[in-house]
Amino acid sequence: MFENLQLLIDYPSLGVDLVANGLMIGAIFALAAFGMALVWGVLGIINIAQGEFVMLGGFVALTAAGLGVPPLLTIPLAAIALFILGWGLYRLVIFRVVDRDLFVSLLATFGLSIILQQLSNEIFGADVRTLETGLGTMVLFDGQIVLAEIKLVSFVTALTVGLALWAFLKRARLGQAIRATAQNARAARILGIDTDRVYAATYALNAALCGAAGSLVVMAWTIHPYIGLPYTVRSFLVVIVAGLGNIVAVITAGLGLGALENLAGFILGAEYQIAFVFVLMVILLVGRNFLLRRKREYLE
């Protein structure tokens, strides 16, 4: 551990390289986390199948590329395909658990995640897959920092989608309806908002966001049917840190998590990289609880 720290001090550019690469993967966490925050905030459901949507997005991108679609165009395709799937899943399963106990929805989405895993294993096979984009690598500052262009593409895409989502929620009719439903579903219904449709749209939108993330994952990293869980866990972590209603906070938390995780992987060793994520989550939850308690005391 100390020799790794020493290494970082001796070669400061290494730290920049690590942070830069971490930010790129962090952008993907943020994308999946947007969706989780939306569904959690509006439907009151913690969607355990989040990572499976990411994985499916990757497989849609692969399949489309196999049919001759240029790799970068598979990003919107994956989003559209997952939007339809998300809508269908809402009509089949999710609408039954919306107003129920949190446990019921956890169980339902957990079941969904298993079904989606096994189905993709059956349809696409268990192999590890990647999609080559043909994009090159950027070498900056005389080889001190090296970035794969596809990672940059995914970074920019994630930020753009985040901003578009923010604008959509602020300005569009449906976006306003989603926010209204999140604030008070009953009041929204009284005011004539078809909350059932809002729920369906929100869940489908979440799936679409994950689908886009998945298509980026398959182009920059790898996918296979069982890759979902880490993405679910990280979205969860990002949402805990950022809260439900704040898109800028989600982006910041996602990017921060990516960078921190990569640095931790370097300093502590790769074996502790994911352990670090969980320890961080516990620390944040405890810290948050502590702050909240002080606030509660003031209120009393």
């Binding site: 790794n4 096979g125 074996e271």
Partner: protein, 411 residues
């Protein structure tokens, strides 16, 4: 009426004979007519389904070939081979259940191994308990052979040998006046940690220095933290083991980050299809394999390794992965043991298996006391001009090692 009576009588007779058949089957080996049955629980669904299918095709091809050549001759009688298959769904608990079922309900007395070390580990205690010989071709973990099992035999090389060839090759290229620096990036699972132990033992014996020793969590989908270390510390040899995912990630990210490594050695290149997916990015990488079609081994049943590859490709429309080759060899080992034992008594066959000393298209087969095949070395390929070429061991190599790997800026 008369017809009804006759049918009823016939029914009774049939049932009685069925009962006797069941009892005889329970008592001795599963032999129906002139066919002796082997049992196999392999992963036809679940995460090992691809390799499970490779395994099954290897078994089937060997059984067909042996039967076409007249079957096995035991005690003057000629028998055909058959296999009863079950799907273990890639889960160890199911594998153990199915081993029990094959032995207890189906009366099978000879078991062919499942796919993966984990499933073999789940089934071995069962076959051991009933004294049923298991010849396996796809469980390489060294720990399987430290339990003192008497009925377990493996035709493949064990895990710790997977990448020892890379250490030997690196030492050959280095000359003697410098200390080589080795980097390890190994998945934190039993298989890769066995591989790691083998590499470290050999590297330290040869006076090399381990400068990176990262254990990648199985869930990890990004190696950039480890690769940053590689960029800073510049090891002469980087060894990566993490199943197909590790191979795909390493090849992709090393190329994307343009990290210069004089020698890169991996496991599971063929499973990850690195040549098909990454083309020139995979060039110069060394890949560990149990077997290769270019090897010079041969036998009377299949002919040479190349003949086996051609037959397999003609039958199944793709080139045989080594999982199929070693699975076929496992069936050949059973056939050979039956003939030498002259009996289908499991204990006698077990002793015959322990005495096995044969040459196959897959390599020599000769078990040590723990049941490991000690007659066949691991093979290392190098990816040269988009093809796998055997470069190690040197007595079986097809091509010269290309070393060192040129820098990315010069490619």
């Amino acid at each position: 009426m008369v017809l009804g009576n006759m049918l009823r009588k016939l029914g009774v007779v049939l049932m009685a004979s069925a009962v006797t058949m069941v009892t005889t089957v329970g008592a001795s080996a599963k032999v129906e007519g002139d066919t002796v049955y082997l049992g196999a629980a392999i992963s036809l669904t679940g995460k090992y389904s691809t390799n499970g299918a490779h395994t099954r095709k290897g078994y089937d091809l060997a059984v067909d070939q042996i039967n076409a050549a007249g079957g096995v001759t035991v005690d003057g009688m000629s028998y055909k081979l058959g296999i009863i298959y079950y799907d273990d769904e890639s889960t160890p608990a199911r594998g153990a259940q199915l081993a029990e079922r094959l032995i207890q309900q189906d009366g099978v007395q000879f078991i062919l191994g499942p796919y993966s070390s984990g499933l073999t580990r789940a089934m071995a205690p069962i076959t051991e308990k009933y004294g049923i010989p298991m010849v396996e071709a796809n469980g390489a973990s060294i720990s399987l052979f430290q339990e003192g099992y008497k009925y377990l035999f493996a035709v493949l090389s064990t895990t710790e040998q997977y990448l020892q060839g890379a250490v030997a090759l690196a030492a050959e290229t280095a000359g003697d006046d410098q200390t080589l620096r080795v980097g390890l990036a190994m998945e934190n699972d039993p298989f890769s940690q066995d591989v790691r132990a083998g590499v470290i033992a050999d590297a330290e014996r040869l006076g090399m220095r381990i400068v990176i020793d990262d254990k990648l969590p199985p869930e990890l989908n990004d190696m950039s933290a480890t690769l940053a270390k590689v960029r800073a510390l510049r090891p002469d040899l980087l060894v990566v083991s993490g199943h197909a995912k590790g191979a795909a990630l390493a090849i992709r990210q090393i190329a994307d980050s343009r990290i210069d490594i004089p020698m890169l050695a991996l496991t599971h290149c063929d499973a990850a299809q690195v040549i098909e997916k990454f083309a020139e990015k995979a060039e110069f990488a060394l890949c560990a394999s149990q077997w290769a079609p270019g090897l010079s081994y041969s036998d009377d049943l299949f002919g040479s390794a190349r003949d086996f590859a051609d037959l397999f490709e003609a039958t199944f429309d793709y080139a045989p992965p080594y999982q199929s080759a070693e699975s076929a060899a496992a069936v050949m080992v059973f056939a050979d043991a039956f003939e030498r034992a002259g009996s289908f008594d499991p204990a006698v066959v077990r002793d015959a298996l322990a005495e096995t000393d044969m040459m196959t298209f897959y390599g020599g087969i000769n078990f040590d006391d723990a049941g490991r095949n000690v007659a066949k070395p691991m093979v290392l390929f190098q990816i040269q001009d988009g093809e796998y070429r055997v470069v190690y061991p040197s007595n079986a190599s097809e091509a010269e090692l290309r070393h060192p790997t040129p820098r990315w800026s010069e490619r």
